[in-house]
């Protein structure tokens, strides 16, 4: 028997699109001085912002972002049924430690850099299923916590290849709510495509864009075919953090499958930094990348009506220092959430 809300092989459609009533972002100094400056709610003046460790700084950033999203949505933490949060660290450290002080029932998620799309899709599904009226989807990443966990000490002077990426210091949060109580014109989550883990044999942990591009292509193509959509359906299809290398490969892969998105395809890892001026190599990465770009800049474009329909494709490289040292290839995943600026459908 087929699930009632499932279309095609991997896509679910919400019977009542889930309202995104507010969003919030917080970023570090490099992101705050990049091309999207002015679109973030809070910019930390330095990487620690007075905390006693990088991990404590990331935790504080995520906590502040969740508190801001609640404040902007005028919803108290006790009215939120579930917080879906994640980050890049072992044991979902930042998310769990932030939740310790927030007092909201919490589910920790790990989808590497795909977690923003994963948490948004799951948060919407829980609401549409009738298990919650309000959920918060929140993720963070921090350059220094990721560097020390996945690569080298932050002050180590190794030479990085030009195709490597720079982990974004940033957090983003969305407050999702039942359409019944929020019927006005606002961005709504309409569909969620759950990606398969794809691995085409990339081994170099610096080459994450190339590792993730096939997963992104797989999910995007699946989304369009599951819903039988024309290429021009979305004003913007935006991937999480493929950066320069992965973005160009994705374009080629979509071209090979006859999906021409043209200028409708972009990548948060290319948008958040100016890679010609800032020392970020191929571009941004980390789950804070898609979170900070989507919850800030893109969310405002939706609200302003500059974008009507958007597909956010979170892309995650599911490697660990252990697996790549043992010579394993890098499995990757991409999840897509479709967001549309619209009224509550049932109210019409």
């Amino acid at each position: 028997m087929r699930a009632k809300k499932k279309f095609g092989l991997q896509t679910v459609a919400f019977s009542r699109p889930v309202a995104i009533i507010s969003s919030a972002t917080c970023v570090g100094p490099l992101e705050g001085t990049g091309p999207l400056q002015g679109s973030f709610d809070v910019v930390y003046p330095d990487m620690l912002n007075g905390a006693k460790s990088w991990e404590a700084a990331e935790t504080a950033m995520l906590k502040e972002t969740v508190q801001m999203v609640l404040g902007k949505g005028a919803v108290s933490s006790s009215s939120v049924d579930i917080l879906l949060a994640g980050d890049l660290l072992n044991q979902c450290t930042s998310a769990n430690f932030a939740a310790r002080d927030l007092g909201i029932p919490m589910l920790g998620l790990y989808g590497a850099c795909s977690t923003m799309a994963e948490s948004t899709g799951l948060g919407a599904a829980l609401i549409d299923g009738g298990f919650a009226t309000h959920t918060v989807a929140a993720v963070s990443s921090h350059n220094a916590t990721s560097e020390r966990q996945y690569r080298f000490p932050t002050e180590y002077g190794g030479q990085r290849p030009p195709y490597s990426q720079y982990t974004v210091t940033g957090a983003g949060a969305l407050l999702l709510a039942d359409g019944l109580h929020h019927q006005g014109l606002m961005p709504r989550v309409t569909h969620f495509t759950i990606g398969k883990v794809v691995d085409l044999g990339i081994k170099d942990p610096f080459d994450m864009g190339a590792a993730m591009a096939p997963a992104a292509a797989d999910t995007i193509l699946r989304h369009f075919s599951d819903l039988n959509l024309p290429a021009e359906h979305y004003d913007l299809v935006v991937t999480g953090d493929l950066a320069y290398v992965g973005y160009n490969i994705l374009r080629e892969l979509l071209h090979q499958s006859n999906l021409e998105l043209g200028s409708r395809l972009n990548d948060c890892g290319l948008m958040i930094y100016d890679r010609n001026v800032q020392p970020v190599f191929a571009g941004g990465s980390g789950c804070g990348c898609s979170a900070a770009v989507f919850c800030g800049y893109l969310f405002e474009l939706l609200r302003a009506g500059a974008l009507q329909r958007l597909l956010l494709v979170g892309t995650g490289a599911l490697l660990s220092p252990t697996t790549f040292q043992q010579g394993e290839t890098i499995p990757c995943v991409a999840h897509a959430v479709a967001i549309e600026m619209c009224h509550d459908r049932m109210a019409e």
Binding site: T154, Y156, G157
Partner: protein, 159 residues
């Protein structure tokens, strides 16, 4: 229908992987090997010149030519360590690559950067336990190489 893991499916997957390796290699931003080699050669040379100048200085202070090598190495280590502590060595390393990574300066940076990074986990298990996580292989294989060369040297002399 093809079952997952059947030999045909595996073959197709391998073919797909091969095609993809080719495509991704084509699109990957190239490492500027010529530029990196040149810069490493020049900067590495400059570090050696600095070392030689230091040897002359220490000889003036009364060290013999052989003795002066030790305070010279110590001085280079101090310079690299201080610059690591000031947070500028990672930029120098990105610029010069092997030019500063291969001399003793790179070794110093690997130890000091680890010590700084893990200080928050305490002086025993943090600094003490992880200080040599990058330098460890250099020490281990340096000792092994010295042993092998020593044995060969002994054998050759014995013959």
């Amino acid at each position: 229908m093809e079952t997952v893991g059947s030999s045909k499916a595996k073959q197709r997957q391998q073919l797909q992987r091969k095609d993809y390796q080719r495509l991704s290699a084509q699109k990957r931003l190239k490492i500027p090997v010529a530029r990196n080699t040149m810069v490493a050669f020049v900067v590495g040379g400059l570090v050696s010149v600095l070392g030689q100048v230091l040897i002359f200085l220490y000889m003036r202070l009364g060290f013999s030519a052989e003795q002066a090598a030790s305070p010279m190495v110590a001085t280079l280590i101090v310079i690299a360590s201080v610059l690591t502590g000031l947070g500028v060595w990672d930029y120098i390393g990105q610029f010069a690559g092997a030019g500063v990574g291969v001399p003793v300066t790179g070794f110093a940076n690997s130890i000091v950067s680890s010590a700084i990074e893990f200080k928050r986990e305490g002086y025993i298990l943090g600094v003490g336990g992880r200080m040599f996580q990058l330098a460890g292989p250099v020490i281990v294989y340096g000792v092994v190489t010295a042993l092998v060369v020593g044995i060969l040297h002994g054998l050759v002399r014995g013959l």
